[in-house]
Symmetry: D2
Subunit: 353 residues, 4 copies
């Protein structure tokens, strides 16, 4: 007997965990081990991270993406400083002010763009304004980019390098919100090192929860000297698990044998399948390019109705400038099946009869 | 083949999780469910909490005790207010300033006592001083008690009621750090309601990680109207899991069939066995009463040496006033066996040959 | 011998203090009086404030407008809440994150408009978005309006009432940044009560430094029960002067005999004279309506050059959308003379020869 | 006609300002000058500070001692760090948590001593404890000493050097709360440089309000590279006056011709006169050595009654350990006259008839 078709396409966090990750938790359970990260699995994770990124890194696991982002930003910006981001960035709109909390009141400043990606020119203009204001304005300190972006697009390596280079020249450090980092790397087909520090990223939020873990993300600082401050801040924020083995075990399993990329590639493939199928329907157009595992499509209202009637879950999104039709967001995950996608497409097709 | 004898008595967080809790995680994995706490298991947990405490409560699961304590205190004290506690309280010395972080800079003020428990007279004196200082001093707002205390003692119900009553008369609200709440309730033999809100506790940090969970605690507010603020603060702190089912599942399993009390009773019994055995040795005396699962004993230096030589792990503690001998702390857990204890006692006995 | 003509039109804070205010400081100097605000002059100020606003108020003097604004906002928004404002508001761009600091990380959210004034529709839309986001977004709490606005415009009483009414219906409290409150009231020709609480303002930053004081502003809360929290927060921020008589003396003198309105009317008149004169020059147009003591004019580059050559100080401003010419800002003050203005106009006229 | 005898000995902040300081304000009033510290008087102050301390310094005037202390500490300790101080220090008990506010939640840890002064051994022990705790405890960062201390004692140069040296070896930076720095320097008879950076002080709160200014203190950082962060933090805290000339003018006048030391020497002399006189009465003994301008004396209750009956103002203080009698605190100021002191002594003498 097969599983019922998935109806919930609202997000990649409505899924459970990969079986490999659950098995790793069970395997990690035996015996007494030192608490607070001095256990063997946490040491394995540190080695794996260094191998994965081809350099020494500081890696600090935490349970949520919000925690990872806010912790990361707290070591990049002081309370009297500015962090630049896209106005729709998760840190700006979806974390209830976590960056402001962790940084002690640093200011997130939104730089709008149509595709969710920032440009060097935007940074230069914003920093120029701030510098001209002297002590009256928060001091420019950092920029954070979402990879994949909130709108499912992915920075190419060249644009990412250009942005990081501009940031560094302006005295800014670069954070990457990688809640869907695996999906972006799968898209780019490059190494994790190329996708991050070789392009100029200083600190990465390495996501796993949306792509196979129960609850595991990691702050990865490419300057390992940040480890001490990050460690104190993580403890202070209540994100240092006493039984850290259970956090490290998830991440080790996630990396083992390339599970993370395998999962992400599958989710991306399913997104492509869904995008291709749905845009073949009359009156349906992409609102944003589909470059990871999110699909934003402008659709006829009848299609919305048909899917809702069939029990499908998905978000309706504010349409971008110039788009009149409602925009629907669908998100695929590591365990979305082709049958799941085809089921949705079939239901959508009924909206066009 | 039996497991090797346990050598690590440093803490109850060096253990894994109860099998029941691990099984619950696996069972929770199937299918898509709403994220961020709108899942069926989280609803079950809310019902269970109301039953357990015999009243409506707000319960917010988080992964660590530090997070639970700091979140709880953040709704009890404003940034310009005072929180009274024992100077050795976990919130004071072991959380890297988490309460200051979460409250936005409220002040923890230590009130010393020899047994780890606070008294009404101490509260009255401290509040009297503060009130006399007007705006120049932080305004009294809350008191936090550790149950069981840092030194393994447990407030009796009558002293707890007296303390809470004094606190309320002084305009303070009461937080209980229940990292070892199960051990305390097992000791008291009363209902969870009697041990908390019926005695005057306003907000409880309900611990589970030390007693069978992987990583699960909960803020329990007996005034459910605190739920909204707690919910925003939890999200802002990065402690709202997207796949909340995995946090709720641990706590539901922890409560199911009384696992939490069974585990705690066993740990307490093992502590009693260890205390009885070790104080039978010459030159060994209790530094604090053993009322939960921690044993503090003043021991001859030779005994320390013998245990270390045998590979045993435990902390040496600053001796209380008037005690000259070194003080060793041993902690038992839900899965410590009688054989484990007897093994330690045998090794300790060798120190007296 | 007369004073030299004023060349500095950059701001109304390049001036000294009104002679009446200086005299009041000298008069306040004699004898010992209780410190920290328990002095007779501070009591006089409290009575005067109640008379001025025709109701009981809490009034807390501080030395700067930034302090007044940030203190005021800190009692209107919790750390996990949102404050709406114009993107060019002083609190947003010119206070180095003071609101974020004082509130413990609340989020200022900018709602753009062409004339510096907010509308009810903007509030409704922003609050609607936030409410739809639940715990993921900061919770709507307050709106702050600048009166006069950053662009020298003044809310009329009807639009102000409509905005406050909408805010209250949406559950928001209203703060008014009155750094140039006197100029606005002089313009409106209404009572201070009509200009504030009768229109729906909850807390006012009552400015004096730009209009005759050395360094004196006041937080005025129309709900006097906010006094206790404001008092603790003021002390905690280091804004409670020990010799408070010297802060109160300035404000009492500022109100005495209507000095504050006399000063403001004069500054507004000078602004009108400057605006009329300069717009009579070819190629000069108002960039914003002149309703207080700031003049924003789009001018030919040659005019900028002529004024600079003559030694005049003023800011060049980013032109509003649709304006191509450079925009110059001139600010008049309580002690700007007609001769000062005519001198500037003469120099400007030379740019057109 | 002479002034009435002073009855208020509660503090040195119940006085007005020195005539020289008031005159300086009036003199500073003329003309327009650049705001926010870019005025000529502020430049004079910077030069004077460098001369006074015989080295380049960063000097940032603010209006209150609480602001100076909290700002100073905010650049010496991060939010996850510890600041050591005496438990009775002003920063600990009298500033409503200002240091916690400005530092973003750093932890003040009190190290008790009978005379208000800290010792190297105390620092070493506290830091040793903290280091042993790792990430679980706030990280040692700074120590703050009050000079003169809360109990009117003054660190000698040798003990101060030893303390600073120990602090630096332990990785701590040293702040000096110099609310009564002038009184201490007058007592020590050394140069300001010897009393501060040559002894190892890193940042000084240079007090003036208690000793002749209206409202003026300054943060003096002996590492001028701290100027940028201090400047941003001062602005963010609302302590950057727009008309900064009025703050700088006070401090320039305070230093001019040695007014600050002349005032302090006089206050100290009056304290000595009061101490000598009152301890000549039967049953009166010093509770602390009188080394600046504060007198703490254990007195018979009848003496308290006699002074109160005569209308005298002063604080009763918690007696130090081992002292049974009530302790009265008297504070003299720059404008206390010998007749004022003799009047008090006469009234006190009546208590012994």
């Amino acid at each position: 007997m097969s599983a019922p078709l998935r109806l919930d396409f609202t997000s990649d966090n409505v899924t459970g965990a990969s079986p490999e990750v659950l098995a790793a938790l069970a395997a990690a359970n035996a015996g007494t081990v030192a608490s607070y990260g001095a256990d063997p699995l946490s040491e394995v994770l540190m080695r794996r991270a260094a191998e994965l990124f081809e350099r020494p890194v500081a890696i600090l696991p935490v349970a949520t993406g919000t925690a990872a982002n806010a912790l990361a930003l707290s070591v990049l910006a002081r309370p009297f400083e500015a962090i630049y981001c896209h106005p729709a960035a998760h840190v700006m709109t979806d974390e209830c002010g976590a960056p402001e909390f962790y940084t002690g009141g640093a200011k997130l400043i939104g730089l709008p763009s149509v595709d969710g990606r920032l440009t060097p020119g935007q940074l230069a203009e914003a920093v120029g304004f701030a510098r001209g204001m002297g002590v009256h304005h928060v001091r420019p300190a950092a920029v954070t980019v979402s990879q994949a972006s909130e709108w499912g697009t992915v920075y190419g390596l060249a644009p990412l390098r250009a942005l990081c280079s501009a940031a560094h020249e302006l005295g800014l450090r670069v954070h990457m919100d990688g809640a869907r980092f695996a999906n972006a790397v799968a898209r780019l087909g490059c190494s994790p090192a190329d996708a991050t520090w070789r392009a100029g990223v200083d600190v990465l939020s390495f996501g796993a929860s949306k792509n196979g873990a129960l609850a595991a993300e990691a702050v990865v600082a490419f300057d390992p000297s940040l480890a001490a401050e990050l460690g104190l801040r993580r403890k202070r924020a209540g994100h240092l698990w006493s039984k850290m083995r259970f956090l490290s075990a998830q991440l080790v399993a996630y990396l083992d044998g390339g599970l993370w990329l395998r999962n992400a590639r599958h989710a991306n493939d399913m997104a492509r399948r869904l995008a291709d199928g749905i845009t073949a329907l009359p009156g349906v157009t992409l609102a944003h390019a589909v470059e990871a595992n999110e699909i934003f499509v402008a659709v006829p209202p009848t299609l919305i109705g048909a899917l809702r009637a069939a029990g499908y879950g998905f978000y309706e999104w504010p349409p971008p400038a110039g788009v009149a039709a409602p925009v629907a967001r669908f998100v695929t995950a590591f365990d979305t099946t082709a049958a799941d996608v085809d089921g949705l497409l079939a239901a959508a097709g009924l909206g066009h009869r």
